[in-house]
């Protein structure tokens, strides 16, 4: 799914870092638009270290935290960054979970240069399901913030179209 060639990446404490990033989403991301992309990028990438643990930590609260950023926030750029990150990660996961090669691109020796830390396909599919559920939960909650939900519906429609085309 993702090839990270930073050698110490797999040593990162997933649990602690996820909790810190969720706290950051809650406390800072609404005030500092530029923190949204790096926080979500790191948060999503941590799934490649330990997908089950990642899901365990995120399942209870991620959708609500994400909603507060991606629909509840009044700053356009925050919502934009949030949905773009989610869409990017969803696409990468979908390639890994459902493509015939499970996302492994044949690219000569470059593959050997990077650490292979992909979670197994089942783990990636669980992530894809979780992301889709989170999106749906956000859309359901969006009834309260319809004026801010355009990007949410647009992204969800893109993803849904992608899923149907892939089937």
């Amino acid at each position: 799914m993702l090839d990270v060639d930073t050698p110490w990446f797999s040593n990162l404490p997933v649990d602690r870092l996820l909790k810190a990033l969720l706290n950051t989403m809650q406390s800072h991301a609404n005030r500092f638009p530029y923190v949204v992309s790096p926080v979500l990028n790191v948060l999503f990438t941590l799934s490649t270290i330990n997908a089950p643990l990642w899901l365990e930590v995120l399942k209870p609260t991620f959708a609500l935290h994400f909603y507060n950023l991606a629909i509840g926030c009044q700053i356009d750029t925050v919502r934009e960054h949030a949905w773009n990150c989610l869409r990017g990660f969803f696409t990468k996961c979908s390639h890994g979970a459902f493509s015939p090669s499970n996302g492994t691109e044949e690219n000569g020796s470059d593959i050997e240069n990077k650490m292979d830390i992909d979670p197994n396909p089942t783990g990636v599919r669980d992530i894809v399901s979780f992301l889709w559920e989170s999106i749906i939960r956000c859309l359901i909650m969006a009834k309260a913030d319809i004026p801010n939900a355009a990007k949410a519906f647009e992204t969800a429609a893109d993803i849904l179209r992608y899923i149907y085309l892939e089937r």
Partner: protein
């Protein structure tokens, strides 16, 4: 640098490059210098690789039980270069994590008699430094005084920080960051938010350079190896109450997470189209 050092060594040992059939150099990929070194000796061989014939590698302890990770680390520590790729018997020595614990023997090298190292060096090292403008020189000469203001009263610290982040990263601070002997706590304050923010701003700039393969920013690699734990701790601390509720410290969260993001997303494609 590597080439000239290597040539010096060869000449000192009475074996000029021109007479060495086993060495060649070539230039590829634009500015990047690649040195290929292949050594093949006839007859029965010890497992000790031919690299050991070079003075630089003479003290590398290598055996069939040496793992690929150790092999890479040994080369990295001896060559003092930015990055390299190693090929043996026509195969690239893999850095894939699953293979890292394999020994040289398990990896399938009969011996390490044929080794080619591709070296990418500081291509811009010999380029003259771009001339500094008057304003930059002015700031640079007064940097330590300005840095002191970052730990002054908040209003002054904010103004100083806003001024400094409009300038290129100050070389004095970059040098301190590069010096791995300086403890993390001395570089990244948990007392003065604007001092911390400026240090993180400089680090973030250097990580951006590293992401763009700037040769001058490659020190970021050992820095990350040494300090990633500290970086995680800093993010945890910044995201915990009551620090998380403070606007002043909030700017640092953004930089700290961006630094981590820069490290782990180097070379990765960001958003694939749906």
């Amino acid at each position: 640098m590597f080439l000239s050092e290597y040539r010096k060594n060869e000449i000192n040992n009475g074996q000029g490059l021109a007479t060495s059939p086993s060495s060649e150099s070539m230039e590829v990929e634009g500015k990047k210098l690649i040195i290929a070194r292949c050594t093949q000796t006839p007859g029965p061989k010890n497992v000790t690789p031919s690299l050991s014939s070079s003075p630089k590698f003479r003290d590398i302890p290598m055996s069939p039980e040496t793992t690929l990770r150790e092999f890479y680390e040994l080369l990295a520590s001896k060559l003092s270069i930015i990055r390299f790729r190693v090929f043996a018997q026509g195969r690239e020595v893999s850095r894939k994590e699953a293979d890292q614990s394999k020994t040289i023997q398990e990896w399938g090298f009969k011996e390490l008699e044929g080794i080619m190292i591709q070296v990418q060096e500081r291509a811009q090292e010999e380029k003259p430094a771009p001339p500094k403008c008057v304003a930059e020189t002015w700031v640079s000469e007064r940097f330590y005084k300005l840095q002191d203001l970052l730990s002054a009263e908040p209003e002054l610290a904010v103004l100083t920080s806003k001024f400094l982040v409009m300038q290129p990263p100050q070389p004095q601070l970059v040098e301190r960051l590069r010096n791995l002997a300086i403890p993390w706590e001395e570089l990244f304050s948990t007392t003065y938010p604007w001092d911390l923010y400026y240090s993180l701003y400089v680090l973030q700039s250097c990580v951006s350079g590293y992401k763009q393969d700037d040769p001058d920013s490659q020190w970021i690699i050992p820095f990350g190896e040494k300090n990633h734990g500290n970086l995680v701790q800093l993010i945890e601390w910044l995201s915990s109450p009551p620090i998380a509720d403070s606007i002043d410290w909030g700017y640092s969260v953004s930089s700290a997470v961006s630094v981590l993001d820069g490290y782990i997303h180097k070379g990765l494609k960001r958003n694939m189209p749906l």
